[in-house]
């Protein structure tokens, strides 16, 4: 007998779209009894102002909805299930207590426009978080407003532009290394800068002479990522900052990789003028299947007048004490967010900082770097290493050794899924052909890493001995490889009733 249409095998469920489950007349909500007279919308709003069609929303009981989304959830890989070594994304453990604290009514139930006198706990938390991020990074001031790393980049580039314009200079170029993340050039371009790509050296890092050559008076600044996206520390960072500063440029630091440096070195001490943090990477706020993140932007004092407003500060006794909003930034680039930013993430990141303290933060970075170097040490005899040098928090392999087998990075990634792993970041950074970028984070135990190593070694064997098995992977997921070309050629971007 064929099992019910809902069940495949064991606890692996098939699940239609929620619209296909809809049964007219089912109810999944309960509204309070109205204590005011009912009104006729057509009378109040005018007949032209009332919606006449039904939106495409399902009719389902609460049980139906809970089962639907619970079943969908079982189709996801997640940090809570196992190693999620997505390079550049810092998929570390997301502490549960942070979730609980962010849901306290005094945080989750507050309104961004309620008077400061009724928001003192929230404002104090913002001031404290700013101070702690400034100390970790060596920056002077931090705006928490940007909603993600890319918006932090935008804020930083806007401040760089404002700084030059304030000095009567109109510079038109931003330098971006070829190993940079795509958001870097996109953020510069969004602010109408021309982007000039700087090649990395043969050793995978940036060399002062390459920066010198590009550093004309037209250049507003450079965007550095340190450690860079190969997991390598930019050893010449101090010299590069000097070269850029000497020509009147500024240095932007992409802080996505700060998890390598906490308590060990500070971007502000390296010569960086402005940087963003990814609270959803380094400071443990969950990625949520694509966000929300939080991308605070930190600056040295020379850029402080340009910070987005409002900022928050401790008020002097003469001002009544406590904490308040601060709009006194004469050259502010303005607002980037409708409110203060992704505040719920501030609560979680602050809880994380308070849980770890100075020693705990440093230990995170130490163990993250230890884990990455351990993986590299145990994989380098089998997989080609793009730049074979000691790494920081992540390492980049490639599929070069697999070339004779015809197996590619994509195949390795998909086969890892069969073994229960989320694949590493693949085909990035762009300068490594067939890149496999592995960031284990400090959350992973030795036995977890060993299992991952054995798996990658097994896949390398399979590539030689049973390539078809690897090429057709994944075999054990609810879906086999999905046709991305078809999706892009004939875009179907919503469900429609027949």
């Amino acid at each position: 007998m064929r099992p019910g249409a809902n069940v495949t095998s064991g606890l692996a469920y098939e699940e239609p779209l929620i619209f296909e489950l809809s049964r007219p007349g089912r109810v999944g909500y309960s509204l309070p009894a109205s204590d005011v007279p009912a009104v006729d919308p057509a009378e109040v709003l005018g007949a032209d102002h009332v919606r006449s069609d039904d939106p495409v929303l399902p009719e389902l009981s609460e049980v139906d909805v809970v089962r639907h989304f619970t079943r969908l959830s079982t189709w996801n890989a997640a940090v809570d299930l196992g190693l999620y070594p997505l390079g550049s994304c810092t998929m570390k453990y997301n502490p549960r207590v942070n979730e609980k604290l962010a849901r306290l009514p005094g945080f989750a139930g507050g309104h961004p426009l309620q008077p400061a006198a009724l928001s003192q706990g929230f404002l104090e938390l913002m001031v404290e978080l700013e101070n702690q991020l400034a100390e970790v990074s060596g920056m002077d001031r931090v705006s928490l407003q940007p909603a993600a790393g890319a918006q932090g980049e935008l804020a930083g580039i806007m401040m760089i532009r404002a700084y030059h314009e304030q000095r009567g200079e109109h510079r038109s170029v931003v330098l971006v290394p070829d190993s940079a993340h795509g958001t870097n050039p996109a953020s510069a371009a969004l602010n109408s800068y021309d982007v000039e790509t700087i090649p990395s050296g043969d050793d995978g890092i940036l060399h002062p002479d390459a920066v010198s050559r590009a550093m004309t008076p037209e250049v507003a600044g450079i965007m550095l990522t340190n450690p860079n996206t190969l997991g390598l520390f930019e050893e010449h960072v101090a010299r590069i900052c000097e070269i850029v500063h000497a020509k009147g440029g500024l240095v932007y630091g992409d802080g996505a990789n700060l998890n390598a440096l906490m308590g060990i070195a500070r971007p502000g001490d390296l010569g960086i003028d402005v940087m963003h943090f990814n609270l959803h990477k380094t400071f443990s706020t969950p990625h949520g299947g694509g966000g929300p993140g939080s991308g605070p932007v930190g600056v040295k004092n020379l850029l402080a007048p340009f910070l987005p407003v409002p900022m928050v500060r401790r008020l002097a006794d003469s001002e009544g004490g406590g904490f308040g909003l601060d709009y006194e930034f004469p050259h502010s680039i303005g607002r980037l967010h409708g409110n203060f930013g992704n505040v719920g993430m501030f609560v979680r990141a602050f809880a994380y900082l308070r849980s770890l303290g100075p020693n705990g933060l440093r230990r995170c970075s130490e163990m993250a770097v230890l884990n990455a170097n351990y993986l590299l040490a145990r994989l380098r005899d089998v997989y080609h290493v793009a730049y074979d040098r000691p790494v920081m928090h992540e390492c980049v392999l490639s599929d070069r050794n697999l070339e004779p087998t015809g197996i590619t990075t994509m195949d390795v990634a998909k086969r890892l899924i069969d073994y229960g792993y989320h694949p590493p970041t693949i085909y990035f950074p762009l300068i490594v052909h067939g890149a496999i970028m592995i960031e284990p984070t400090e959350s992973e135990s030795l036995e977890g890493l060993d299992r991952f190593v054995e798996t990658l070694r097994a896949i390398e064997r399979e590539a030689r001995e049973e390539p078809q098995l690897v090429r057709d992977a994944p075999h054990r997921t609810p879906h086999s490889r999905l046709d991305e070309t078809r999706a892009a050629r004939h875009p179907v971007l919503r469900w429609q009733p027949d």
Binding site: V27, P55, V97
Partner: protein
């Protein structure tokens, strides 16, 4: 190891074994690539670590110093709305498989997220009356700025006209985003009844788009068909902004009235106010404009066995492929918040969402009736409203709000900083959370300043 290391598994023996495998003498040796003079030579100056129990006490004390919807009756909206959310919503989004996953790059093990995004796109396209909604923007304000940029790309024009009824923070964000570009931003006037006026006069052949909010910042329901006509007559696009998404259940979909891009904030759909974020911006348009759209999109496809599944698609618009030529720099969006909204909309459903919107309308009409009959109070604008409206008060907005607070009410927004010409006036919002008794107390308190 100390008991402050609960998030890190390594034991000292394991660390020693790993160092040996690497061939490094010590942890410190791992950091050799960092030149000595660049290293921090002291511990970070941060407060010492807390246990979970101490942490909970500290943050609970901070939270207790904030007014919130549990501690007060709530009449403050202005872009962030106090609504009730069913318990199932928050329970489901805390499933670790949703909470602790990344952006769904690897489709085969991200079908849960991808299918939910596809469902969200379907719901938002339908609610807004468009064909394509993206997988969220940071918030309503940046969505509006991105919509203006998109309109500039589509029309190759550089003037942007904002209605005076656009949320002032949204207008500020549009100005910041367009600040580095060769763009001109103008603001069209507000008519006596609270709706945009003279739109046609503000638009010319250089106008890329007209941006109109419905209901607008003052709560008034704008005439979108008229706005569309004014914009289209000069070849400009109409961008409609929605900050109170619940209104979409009751008001005609903007797309059906001529909007070319619909964007805004879907926080009302079950997302906590949380002092203003994380919320969930959205941006929707028709299929023919999709290649200029910012943000991620989930699309339907099949797997190698022909089974339906979903992937991120049309990514040649995006920064990771197109870099400096991308339509936007956005990468991480507001994934978990769009999931929140999708679950909320699934529970409320076709009928429930409409009934809830009608309840909001009824509360507002009741409150407006009480205000009309209270000496000293007035309704500033005659245009129809949804769940928010402008109340003129007899003395000063600040004193009126203090009286409301004494009655346990966070009474609304003082409009003086945003619209000084109005005189003493408040923006007051009544959602399903506002009981009749609380509305009566609020109205009594606001009116108590009458001579």
């Amino acid at each position: 190891m100390s008991d402050r290391d609960r998030y890190i598994p390594h034991t000292p023996d394991e660390v020693a074994h790993m160092l040996e495998t690497i061939g490094a003498k010590s942890i410190d040796a791992l950091f050799e690539p960092i030149p000595d003079e660049l290293r921090l030579d002291r511990p970070l100056d941060l407060p010492a670590a807390l246990s979970e129990q101490e942490l909970t006490a500290e943050l609970t004390a901070l939270a207790a110093r904030n007014a919130n919807t549990d501690s007060h009756d709530w009449f403050l909206g202005a872009g962030t709305y106090a609504h009730f959310s069913p318990s199932a919503v928050d329970a489901l989004i805390q499933r670790g498989e949703f909470l602790t996953a990344y952006t769904p790059y690897q489709a085969e093990i991200s079908q849960g997220t991808l299918q939910a995004v596809f469902e969200w796109q379907t719901m938002m396209a339908s609610l807004t009356g468009t064909e394509v909604a993206n997988a969220s923007m940071y918030d309503g304000a940046s969505a509006t700025a991105e919509a203006a940029l998109m309109a500039m790309r589509l029309t190759r024009r550089s003037r942007v006209v904002l209605s005076a009824g656009l949320h002032p923070h949204y207008a500020e964000v549009v100005k910041s985003y367009l600040g580095g570009l060769d763009a001109v931003i103008e603001v069209a006037g507000l008519g006596e009844d609270g709706r945009s006026a003279d739109l046609a006069g503000a638009i010319d052949e250089q106008t890329a788009c007209l941006v109109v909010q419905r209901p607008n910042f003052f709560g008034c329901v704008e005439d979108l068909a008229g706005a569309a006509e004014a914009a289209h007559a000069s070849g400009a696009l109409l961008v409609v902004v929605v900050t109170e998404s619940l209104s979409l259940a009751l008001l005609p979909p903007p797309g059906a009235l001529g909007a070319d891009i619909v964007c805004g904030e879907a926080q009302s759909f079950g997302v906590p106010m949380s002092f203003g974020g994380p919320h969930v911006g959205f941006l929707a348009t028709d299929q023919k404009r999709v290649r200029q759209m910012p943000g991620r999109l989930a699309g339907e496809t099949v797997d190698s066995h022909g089974k339906r599944g979903f992937v991120l698609t049309l990514s040649t618009r995006e920064q990771h492929i197109r870099r400096e030529r991308a339509t936007s720099n956005i990468c991480t969006n507001q994934g978990l918040c769009l999931l929140t909204a999708t679950i909320y909309l699934s529970l409320l459903g076709r009928v429930g969402l409409r009934r809830l919107a009608e309840l909001n309308l009824a509360k507002a009409e009741y409150a407006k009736g009480r205000i009309r009959e209270t000496p000293g109070l007035g309704l500033r604008y005659a245009a129809p409203t949804f769940n928010e409206f402008v109340v003129t008060v007899p003395d000063s907005a600040g004193r009126a709000l203090e009286r409301a607070l004494a009655e346990g009410c966070v009474g609304g927004l003082d409009l003086a900083p945003h619209a000084p010409d109005l005189g003493p006036a408040l923006l007051v919002c009544t959602t399903e959370l506002a009981s009749r008794d609380a509305i009566d107390r609020l109205v009594g308190a606001l009116g108590a300043g009458a001579p």
